[in-house]
Symmetry: C2
Subunit: 247 residues, 2 copies
């Protein structure tokens, strides 16, 4: 049950902020390198995939073989991954069974909105390094976003009647309002910005400058990560709402 | 030629420090989880491999397919990787042809010495996350260590006669002395420690504490990363020494 304590959830989410900030800083070393997001952009050998798509899928294939996606806090970008070659351990999940996965949106927003915000325009030829960093960062953002399921389940248990009524009525806007806490969101964005101001600072010859502007990291949270997390919460609450709590 | 300017080399190495520090901080989130380094430690499905070995090899296989290891600053841990499925671009390399690869040592030292220094003892069940972080960190350390080839080539060009004479005499100790600059090494270790003091600080409820002690990061550089880098330099200078500079 500790997975659903608000303390435990807050700790995981706060720690993931640093992972995401590290990932953004690492990606910002390289230019946009748009060619790595285009199907066949780096060569026909990839059979219609982009370089990032290819590496992400290869990564997920190998991780699926060691049962990454049996964990209730890990969601793949690709379907039809290979079976695990390790014995499956049925992890005790506090979540209701559900098939919610917003990674298509995560990837679309990442490639078309976040990268242009984080990276300088142009192509520096560092395609492989950029794509490897993209894979790591996409996986961290996906984890952060899908953690909304744990947040939603915790809320469902603390205010079961109110949320069940909204869900039974299919009231998406009502659920979104119920899971929104503007003061918490403001605090998260401010905290992320403060962390980035520490972690993204340039050392050495350019003190006082940043590898990525803290305002950009804050903006990524405000515009995309927090809203996508809430979207996961809303979808979860809509899907898992039946009266006896077994939705 | 700019790849061999000391400014360019210093910039790459300094920037890699942050990547390595990020990697150490990320790995330190988890306990040692010794089982992930043992052959078949997480299950027989891996056919004698450890979890880290399996994931590292799978990662290198997919990266080899997109020609990571044709780059003169990338060296794999495994042999017999698949061929590239992209057209090979012959990158202009400023290095002499050589087959130097110290990744067996890097991996041995990483698994048996660095991890116990960085992580708390015990097993927290976070095997997959620990192993994924290991793969990223091993690759960053390998890159840093093998960058010694660029350092050595730059030195070979600035003091060709002295180094060629030592190499022709097979004087390893002499070459090691020639590539050692204690004041530079001291400065690097101090800088790494200062960066870690910034990057590894705990935010939130435990200010003034560290995710990893800066002294530990400094120690990893002092005891292993710098010496392995110099070992690469020595091996390179021994192997590439003939009189006309075409060793």
């Amino acid at each position: 049950m500790s997975l659903l304590s608000l303390d435990s959830i807050r700790h995981v989410l706060a720690r993931l902020e640093e992972t995401i900030i590290f990932g953004i800083i690492e990606r910002a070393r390289f230019k946009r390198n748009e060619v790595i997001y285009k199907p066949d952009g780096v060569g026909r050998g990839l059979k219609g995939q982009s370089l990032v798509g290819f590496l992400l899928r290869e990564c997920e294939k190998s991780h699926a073989k060691v049962r990454r996606y049996t964990s209730p806090d890990e969601y793949p970008f690709f379907a039809r991954l290979p079976a695990s070659i390790l014995p499956i351990v049925r992890l005790e999940s506090p979540l209701r069974p559900n098939a919610i996965n917003v990674n298509a949106q995560v990837r679309e927003i990442y490639e078309t909105r976040m990268v242009p915000l984080v990276c300088e325009p142009g192509d520096d030829g560092q395609w492989g390094s950029s794509a490897v960093n993209d894979v790591n960062l996409l996986q961290a953002i996906s984890k952060r976003v899908h953690y909304g399921k744990f947040v939603a389940e915790a809320k469902r248990r603390t205010q079961p009647k109110r949320l069940a009524a909204l869900a039974a009525a299919g009231d998406e806007a009502g659920i979104l309002a119920a899971v929104t806490d503007v003061s918490v969101e403001t605090r998260v964005v401010a905290r992320v910005r403060a962390k980035a101001a520490t972690l993204a600072q340039e050392f050495g010859p350019r003190p006082g400058r940043y590898k990525v502007k803290p305002a950009i990291v804050a903006e990524i949270y405000r515009r995309w990560i927090i809203p996508l997390n809430k979207e996961v919460q809303v979808r979860y609450l809509l899907a898992c709402h039946d009266g006896d709590g077994r939705g």
